[in-house]
């Protein structure tokens, strides 16, 4: 097993790690990890059938990416992380787990011409803080960062509280299908259906299917 090479990217003041898991020709599959996770060191077996290169982005506060002082994490900022990767990579297909699935939905809507299909999978942080604001609370102390510095505790705390209204999420799903020009822009391959995802699967241009089928479908689009 060899260590994948890393490209350093920048989103504003945050340095991000983009891991190259496999080279090759064609459009890359970009992996987005779940909350508290990091890009795996090897391609997970179920994703191996992807015909092109495979890369993975460590989101802010995760893996080998930077930890900003003072926290302030929210999913639209992480969408900006992915946008920084799109500047470097050009068009991609995305596979997102949990938190990464929600971020994949956001970027698929916001940069619809650069995201050639997004696969939304189960994983940590899928539900976020739910459809309406959680009870007011303020935490001013968190546990120390783990060895290596990530996942940073403010990220773990704040990204389990961010609100994900269903009608907000399905606007992104609509933007993805209308503006990508794809018959199917989003494939939901997981089991869990938090309220935002329950709304998204009702939208045209969104399919529920097994992972293998989603990979095959998006590998076939230009």
């Amino acid at each position: 097993m060899s260590t994948p090479s890393i490209t350093r990217l920048h989103h504003g003041r945050v340095g991000l790690a983009l891991h190259h898991l496999r080279g090759g020709e064609g459009r890359p599959l970009l992996l987005l990890h779940g909350l508290g996770e990091r890009t795996p060191s090897e391609i997970p077996a179920p994703l191996a059938p992807w015909p092109g290169p495979v890369v993975g982005l460590d989101l802010t506060g995760h893996g080998a990416s930077d930890v900003p002082a003072g926290g302030g994490y929210y999913c639209e900022a992480l969408m900006g992380d992915v946008d920084a990767a799109l500047v470097h990579l050009g068009p991609v297909t995305i596979h997102g787990r949990g938190l990464g699935a929600y971020v994949a939905l956001l970027i698929a809507g916001a940069r619809a011409t650069l995201v050639r299909g997004a696969i939304l999978a189960d994983g940590p942080g899928l539900a976020g803080g739910g459809p309406t604001p959680p009870a007011a609370s303020i935490l001013t102390v968190v546990e120390p960062a783990p060895p290596g510095g990530t996942p940073y505790p403010w990220a773990m705390h704040e990204l389990t509280r961010d609100v994900r209204p269903p009608d907000y999420a399905d606007t992104y799903a609509r933007l993805a299908s209308v503006n990508s020009g794809l018959d199917t822009a989003l494939a939901v391959v997981g089991v869990n259906r938090p309220p935002w995802l329950e709304a998204v699967v009702q939208e045209p241009g969104v399919v529920e299917c097994p992972l293998a089928e989603a990979l095959e479908r998006f590998a076939a689009v230009d």
Binding site: G12, P68, A69
Partner: protein, 309 residues
């Protein structure tokens, strides 16, 4: 934080009734240095003031001295990215709330009255919900969001506008690392600010330029982080602030400036009244805009002092 070593005293303007803080200190908010200011007797009972979005603590230079002279230790701070506080990599509502609680902890352990203007008023309502044992009384100055300023447009149009907004915001994010604010003269910066503060007079705006901006070799630049943009990035809705109001268990004074303007919400008394907690007081100020404490510092100070008495 920059110490402003390049600034010279003759550039500090004066404005009738405005008084700079008596003391300044720094609070470490999880790695970010926040600039904290105090007016009045340091042993007097504290009162925490919270400024609005794209403002900074000096916008209390008219109100704070009046409250301090009436026997309060008045404390305000520049929110992250604003005024003389550090610029951050991330800005969020929850981070601002946490910074507020951190500043509060630096003042003392006892419950204290809090006052917020605009976004600061909404922040303080949520803080009073989250930490009821830390807040003894609340004043909200034109910080009660409502839907009135949000145009009612059809769904498909809204989706199109959202696509445009997302593209602009992401394009902005792509360019923030080498972005800086446009330099200008004090007059030019004041005129730029007037677009957001159309009712405030030029002499006041020039006064705040000399505090909220720094003088570079090529001109004055607002200190506020150029990475920040107006409006939130995300699913925030005005009712998420208003919903905090009925839950507040300490005396509430809410003030609405009735003249509509660009930075305000256009909220009407009937939007607020059903949400006022028991014993809460709503005061409307006719002929006054969003910046009630700058347009009418004496009247607002009197309302606050009466509320705290």
């Amino acid at each position: 934080m920059d110490g402003g070593a390049e600034s010279v005293d003759d550039e500090v303007r004066s404005y009738p009734g405005a008084r700079r803080p008596d003391r300044q200190r720094t609070v470490d908010a999880h790695g970010l240095a926040l600039a904290v200011y105090e007016w009045g007797d340091p042993t007097a009972p504290p009162l925490l003031l919270t400024h609005g979005g794209f403002d900074f603590a000096a916008t209390f230079d008219l109100l704070a001295p009046l409250l301090a002279d009436a026997g309060h230790r008045v404390v305000a701070w520049d929110q992250r990215g604003h005024g003389h506080s550090d610029h951050a990599a991330l800005y969020s509502w929850d981070a601002d709330l946490r910074d507020a609680a951190t500043v509060m902890a630096s003042i003392g352990p006892d419950p204290m009255p809090v006052l917020g203007h605009s976004k600061g008023g909404s922040l303080m309502m949520q803080l009073a919900n989250a930490l009821p044992h830390r807040v003894s009384s609340l004043v909200n100055l034109d910080g009660l969001p409502s839907r009135r300023s949000i145009p009612d447009i059809p769904d498909h149009q809204r989706t199109k506008l959202m696509a445009k907004d997302l593209t602009e915001r992401l394009d902005h994010r792509r360019s923030v690392s080498d972005r800086q604010r446009r330099p200008g003269t004090i007059t030019e910066l004041a005129e730029r600010r007037r677009q957001m503060n159309p009712r405030l007079d030029q002499a006041w705006l020039e006064y705040v330029v000399t505090i909220g901006a720094r003088r570079d070799p090529d001109g004055w630049r607002w200190r506020i982080d150029p990475a920040m943009r107006m409006g939130g990035f995300g699913p925030w809705r005005p009712e998420w602030s208003m919903m905090r109001l009925p839950d507040i268990g300490v005396p509430v004074l809410a003030v609405l400036g009735m003249e509509p303007e660009v930075m305000g919400w256009g909220t009407r008394p009937e939007d607020v009244e059903p949400n006022l907690p028991s014993g809460g007081r709503l005061v409307t100020m006719e002929g006054v805009g969003h910046f009630v404490h700058i347009e009418q510092p004496r009247a607002v100070a009197d309302l606050v002092l009466e509320h705290l008495a």
